[in-house]
């Protein structure tokens, strides 16, 4: 399955990309947590921020990173929000 991964703010700078299109065929049932761990092996500095990183699945905040990813999903990782 194909998913889009977005990075914002400091994470975008650390990863050097704002968007990755990823093919997840190898995972039978990937979760947000699986995806993040996988990304962390390619982008080592991501793990430095693990404790503070927020995730959104299809533009909704995800509190439980064990939620499953489906084909076509858009997953975003970002530091805590500092809007307003």
């Amino acid at each position: 399955m194909r998913i889009n991964v977005l990075f914002f703010a400091k994470l975008r700078e650390e990863v050097g990309e704002n968007k990755l299109s990823i093919n997840l065929e190898e995972f039978s049932s990937a979760t947000i947590k699986d995806l993040f761990d996988d990304l962390s092996t390619n982008y080592k500095r991501l793990s430095l921020y693990k404790g503070e990183i927020k995730a959104a699945l299809n533009q909704e905040m995800v509190k439980d990173w064990n939620v499953k990813i489906s084909d076509g999903d858009e997953i975003a990782f970002f530091p805590p929000i500092t809007g307003g």
Partner: protein, 152 residues
């Protein structure tokens, strides 16, 4: 609810006018947030800038959820939110939250609730750029987390 996410400046007065059109509107409470000097007390910080990044597809969704939550709590008429992104400078307007209602108490509560949630839930991130071009992502403030949690 009307939401504008834009780079260009806005006029709070136009928002207040738009919200006043209903006969049952007796009160409009608005909050405008500005870029203030982040070198506290240093008056020579003239060239400081703020860069605001956001997640466009998520912004409206998150603001609509915040508005729905406010409507569950208080009887309000209308809400308008404007949030700028891109490069801003000192004293620039960043964000506007305006709420209309029949009675002022509800408008005050809903307006403060929405900005408190927006600050920690709507996908915007700020970077400060000092006069000497140092860049620094703004850290989340303990006070903002507490303000939001006070509504729970």
């Amino acid at each position: 609810m009307t939401v504008f996410v834009q780079n260009k400046d806005f006029k709070a007065g136009e928002t207040i006018n738009r919200l006043s059109k209903e006969n049952t509107t007796g009160a409009v409470v608005s909050f405008v947030g500005f870029v203030r000097s982040f070198y506290d007390g240093q008056s020579d910080a003239k060239d400081m800038k703020l860069e605001i990044e956001h997640y466009p597809k998520m912004t409206l969704k998150s603001l609509e959820q915040i508005e729905q939550e406010a409507r569950l709590r208080w009887s309000i008429n209308n809400v308008e939110i404007i949030h700028r992104f891109g490069e801003l400078k000192m004293n620039d307007q960043i964000v506007l939250v305006a709420v209309s209602s029949s009675h002022r108490k509800e408008a005050f509560l809903a307006c403060e609730f929405i900005i408190d949630y927006l600050k920690t839930e709507a996908p915007f991130w700020k970077k400060e750029i000092t006069d000497s071009k140092e860049e620094k992502w703004v850290e989340i403030k303990e006070a903002d987390i507490n303000k939001k949690n006070n509504w729970l």
